[in-house]
């Protein structure tokens, strides 16, 4: 019927953080994969700030890595500054964040993609999907250049490119998916014609300046905190970062801190009518947690100053990213604002900040495998689902890619539970609750902030990855070594005694009561501020254990009671998750449910009771009644 140039199991459209992960995940499952993107040079492009990780996000990077993704490894090869955020707030919420050299990151991502077997990259802009006659299943994709490729599944990761429109002030607005790159309209029109609901979001980015024009003497410096951190363990770097050379250990660079004060606020207030967002050019909703500087001034007029971070864009450029100054004011006003900032009085602006509006598809149109409910074989991941952030995109990319790959090999889809990962929380929130502003992860979105941590991603996800067969032999060995280290750490802590004289130097240093007689190390490790590693060192055991395993075990020992609370909750969710809902339930006719619940359930078609419990507007009473209705439904099925 169609003359395909070649055929694949899975085609991934887009080479950003969602697309690259989707392609790798499907290929790791053994599916044949094509990644089609408008420019191969921009694979792995960091479109906004030059940093990977942060609170909750850093944990996602490690989860992506544990599932065989590339983001952790690419970051390790490109990191030019590292900080562990929340270090003072307890190891349970430690959050790794790395500033990256954009060029190094892009190159690392592209080589990791090209190292992956079963994965082919193709340059082209997809103009349309090729569907079956009913328009209900995927057959392939065709590019603007007229190249046709067959596929059983397609993952769309279009970022901000679907009908993207860039705004700088009220006068200046142009079509574009990213500064200097064209938007995609044909595909957007086809998706809308297919009956999918489409909405608009906006996001923004700050100006970039020439570092040679900055007076650093006025700025506060922020050095790299440590340089020993690696996101990736599944790839087990053979040499420690500190002794490696080249991109394995890029030179560390500082960031700089300054602030926007009263003069800058005045300029913004005087020109607010010229802002694309406040002058009426944009009506779409933007994120509350990543506000434009216009938002900050108008919503919090009492704040005296707002911090500005100057972040290096890379080793091979003097360009700096002005974090904190996202704006859609006209370029000349942006320059005026920059000049009001201490240290930037003579700053030259290389690139103006802008706001961008783009299409997204409300994600309640997806099932939990990220497949579009209405079109068999079509998956969405990333900003197309109304999220923001590289990490959120990558997490969805992994899941969409895995599920596309699984579908092609006739296997059941994988759904990560909320208790397993932040990726699980993210996807469950998207498909169950939907979004009303660009979605970003926070620790407060998770009920499992203590048990879902950056240090234990491998414990949480390796079993799933092993079962899916995502690891190669070397990775499997690394993971097995880590599990063995976990067991050994636990055993040593529970079986080794420590004498009062051995513990004394540790305990007296932190005003903790001295031991009266010898006790097991685990017992002392329960005390606040006593590290398991220091106890091991005092007794002289476990010196060669993986420090990551020691940290995870220490937390499990120290906060066992609190972790148990979360795990009890997790078990409850698991049990509710096992109560599956038949696909043919007629919610509209369930008179024992509230009208609101009936509408929501009909629209979302949840798969399990656990998912129902998180739909806003569905009450505990509705859930009880739903259980009764389902039992009735089963009985009818048996008798009829």
């Amino acid at each position: 019927m169609h003359s395909f140039e070649s055929s694949f199991d899975v085609i991934v459209i887009g080479g950003g953080h969602a697309g690259t992960e989707a392609a790798v995940a499907a290929a790791r499952l053994g599916a044949s994969v094509a990644l089609i993107t408008s420019a191969l040079e921009t694979i792995g492009q960091m479109s906004c700030n030059p940093a990977i990780g942060g609170v909750a996000k850093g944990t996602v990077v490690r989860e992506v890595d544990a599932l065989g993704g590339i983001m952790g490894r690419a970051t390790d090869l490109a990191s030019l500054q590292f900080r562990m955020l929340n270090r003072s707030k307890g190891p349970a919420v430690w959050s790794p964040r790395a500033q990256c050299d954009r060029g190094l990151y892009r190159r690392a991502a592209r080589s990791l993609i090209e190292e992956q077997p079963n994965l082919q990259t193709i340059q082209g802009t997809v103009a349309r999907l090729i569907m079956d006659e009913a328009g209900a299943a995927i057959r392939g994709a065709e590019t603007l250049e007229g190249r046709k490729f067959g596929a059983r599944c397609v993952v769309i990761t279009a970022g901000t490119f679907l009908r993207g429109r860039i705004h700088i002030g009220t006068e200046m607005s142009l079509s574009g998916g990213r500064a200097g790159e064209s938007a995609t309209t044909h595909l957007a029109e086809q998706l809308e014609r297919a009956g999918l609901t489409v909405e608009r979001f906006k996001t923004g980015t700050p100006p970039r300046i020439d570092g040679r024009s900055v007076d650093f003497s006025q700025l506060q410096v922020q050095e790299s905190e440590i340089d020993q951190f690696d996101y990736s363990w599944s790839h087990f770097w053979p040499v420690p970062r500190s002794t490696a050379s080249g991109t394995r250990n890029p030179t560390q660079l500082p960031c700089w801190i300054t602030y926007l004060g009263a003069p800058g606020k005045q300029i913004i207030a005087d020109n607010i009518g010229k802002s694309a967002m406040y002058g009426g050019a944009i009506s779409a909703r933007g994120p509350r947690y990543c506000p434009s500087v216009e938002d900050k001034i108008l919503r919090f007029p009492d704040a005296e100053r707002h911090q500005i971070f100057l972040e290096p864009e890379g080793h091979d450029t003097s360009e700096l990213y002005v974090n904190g100054l996202s704006t859609s004011l006209p370029a000349d006003v942006q320059v005026e604002i920059l000049h009001s900032i201490p240290g930037l009085e003579r700053a030259r602006m290389n690139r103006a900040g802008y706001a961008i509006e783009y299409d997204y598809y409300p994600p309640t149109q997806l099932d939990p495998s990220l497949q579009v409910k209405a079109i068999n074989g079509l998956y969405f991941a990333g900003q197309i689902n109304g999220t923001t952030g590289y990490e959120e995109a990558a997490g969805q990319g992994v899941v969409a890619g895995l599920n596309a790959g699984l579908a092609c090999t006739g296997r059941d889809p994988i759904v990560l539970g909320r208790h397993t990962s932040y990726i699980g929380v993210l996807i469950d929130d998207l498909v169950t609750r939907g979004v009303d502003e660009p979605y970003r992860l926070f620790t407060s979105r998770s009920e499992f902030r203590l048990t879902v941590r950056q240090d234990n991603a491998i414990e949480r996800l390796a079993l799933i990855a092993l079962e899916l067969g995502l690891y190669d032999e070397r990775e499997r060995q690394v993971v097995e070594r880590r599990f063995a280290a976990d067991r050994e750490t636990r055993r040593l802590a529970e079986e080794t005694s420590i004498r009062p004289d051995q513990a004394a130097p540790i305990l007296s240093g932190i005003d903790s009561n001295a031991l009266v007689h010898s006790v097991k190390i685990a017992e002392v490790a329960r005390r606040q501020n006593v590290s398991l590693a220091s106890l091991f060192a005092a007794v002289g055991v476990g010196q060669d254990l993986d420090p990551a395993a020691v940290l995870s075990t220490e937390l499990e020992i120290k906060y066992a009671g609190y972790f148990d609370r979360e795990r009890i909750q997790a078990d409850k969710i698991k049990r509710m998750g096992e109560f599956s809902l038949p696909g043919d339930l007629d919610y509209a006719r369930m008179a024992s449910l509230t009208l609101e619940a009936r509408h929501k359930l009909t629209a979302i078609r949840p798969r399990s009771l656990a998912q129902v419990s998180r739909i806003p507007g569905v009450s505990p009473n509705d859930i009880q009644n739903l259980v009764i209705e389902v039992e009735r439904h089963h009985k009818r099925g048996v008798t009829s």
């Binding site: 955020l85 707030k89 919420v93 947690y289 971070f309 407060s444 203590l450 906060y559 509705d622």
Partner: protein, 441 residues
């Protein structure tokens, strides 16, 4: 809940009017078969003719329709106000049932209102209290809860704990922000004030029970000491509802007196002398049980000597204040203690005042419009919330736990408070946080 239910909404019996209520998906359809003309527009009382299935006229009635969800139950509802009595409402109800309605179970309309989100749990409980209320005090409290008084108070407390949670969430989720870390003192002050409010609310629980059940005032004394006459005389002085205590009708009679600030549950007990009569023995055990839980005891006797003997005996069996009462005052010569006469009514008013005074000494002033906890269930949830808040305060104060871990207590406290009225959502924390802080660099 797919069935349409109907019932007489007013008490069955002789009365000027009776209201029959029908609720459910088919309420309009079923009622429509019996009512002409059908009212134009909703929520407007219309004079209609009600007929049975054979077209025979049953009554002229005022009919009001309510379109879902703007009704008591949140469903389509028709209220038919017929003439009262035993016959007409029964016939109308029978006609509705013949057309497909089911007779509602007790409390089923309210249950549907809760299921349909028209009332929260506290409000539903308040409706029960309002219907059952035997005193002005109870009715006032129930009206306050029904109006959402307690729900609002709980909501407000919950909101404050969520506020605290969002302070911690801000610290964890936005480590690089302008405002910097939240000072410990700010968290401690907010925590202390939530605990104080929870304590205030918990302190209302005894008053809540008192308002629901009335203060237990027991009349005690030897047989023929004039107890029953006193009981009746006190009843005669105020509005009262007499109830028989099941199984002990002969031995203890209760009445609720709506007098003074607190409702009084007045109990007339059997004689307190030793007996071999099994039935009377039973009565004495009942009396002893009542005395043990009494809020006040009236120790009666028809002589000064009798009064003091009774008072001494009663004091052994109760911690409650004992009020000596000299009965048959019309026959007495000296008026040393509270002397009353059931015959002349002498001293009864004063005795009621004295009882009110003693109860108020014990429980303080009756609550005005402030929300109070009236149910064990509510008290249990609030107590749990307080325990979690106290544990949180201790952890933060001693820095025994990192805030991220201690926050588990806050979430548990929020859940406990939510259990009083309804549910909670994590989005609440973020909404709160974004309202309070300028976040995002």
């Amino acid at each position: 809940m797919d069935e349409t239910i109907a019932a007489e909404a007013t008490a069955h019996g002789r009365a000027a009017i009776a209201v029959i209520r029908i609720s459910g998906l088919a309420a309009f359809e079923i009622a429509g078969r019996h009512i002409t003309p059908w009212p134009e527009g909703h929520r407007r009382a219309t004079l209609c003719t009600v007929r049975d299935g054979n077209g025979e006229v049953l009554d002229e009635a005022l009919v009001t329709t309510f379109l879902a969800p703007a009704s008591f139950t949140g469903e389509n509802v028709v209220e038919i106000a017929t003439h009262g009595g035993v016959v007409v409402p029964t016939l109308v109800l029978a006609a509705l049932v013949a057309s497909g309605a089911r007779v509602a179970l007790p409390g089923e309309f309210t249950r549907r209102a809760v299921l349909n989100g028209k009332l929260d749990l506290v409000q539903a409980e308040a409706i029960g209290d309002l219907i059952d209320s035997t005193s002005r005090a109870m009715q006032r409290v129930a009206m306050t809860q029904l109006d959402g008084g307690l729900s609002r108070r709980i909501e407000e407390l919950r909101d404050r704990v969520i506020g605290l949670e969002s302070l911690l969430a801000y610290d964890i989720d936005f480590p690089d922000e302008d405002d910097g870390p939240i000072p410990k003192s700010r968290i401690m002050v907010a925590t202390g004030s939530v605990i104080a409010s929870l304590n205030d609310l918990l302190a209302t629980a005894p008053a809540g029970e008192l308002v629901r059940n009335g203060a237990l005032v027991v009349i005690a004394g030897a047989p023929n000491a004039g107890k029953s006459s006193l009981f009746n005389a006190m009843l005669g002085r105020s509005r009262a509802i007499v109830t028989e205590v099941p199984g002990t009708t002969r031995d203890a009679i209760e009445a609720v007196l709506d007098t003074g600030p607190w409702p009084i549950r007045l109990v007339d007990t059997a004689g307190l002398r030793e007996t071999t009569d099994v039935v009377e023995q039973l009565g004495i055990e009942v009396a002893t049980r009542y005395l043990a839980s009494a809020d006040a005891v009236l120790a009666c006797g028809d002589t000064a000597d009798g009064v003091s003997r009774t008072a001494a005996a009663v004091s052994q069996l109760t911690d409650a204040p004992v009020i000596p009462v000299r009965t048959k005052g019309d026959l007495a010569s000296s008026l040393d203690v509270n002397t009353v006469s059931a015959t002349t009514g002498q001293g009864i008013r004063e005795l009621l005042d004295r009882v009110a005074e003693v109860v108020s000494e014990r429980y303080g002033r009756a609550p005005a419009d402030a929300p109070i906890l009236t149910r064990e269930r509510q008290r249990f949830c609030v107590e749990q919330a307080r325990e979690e808040m106290v544990a949180f305060a201790a952890a933060i104060e001693d820095e025994a736990l990192p805030a991220s871990i201690a926050a588990v207590h806050l979430r548990s406290a929020v859940n406990a408070l939510a259990d009083v009225t309804g549910t909670i959502d994590v989005e609440d924390v973020l909404d709160r946080l974004f309202r309070t802080f300028c976040v995002g660099k």
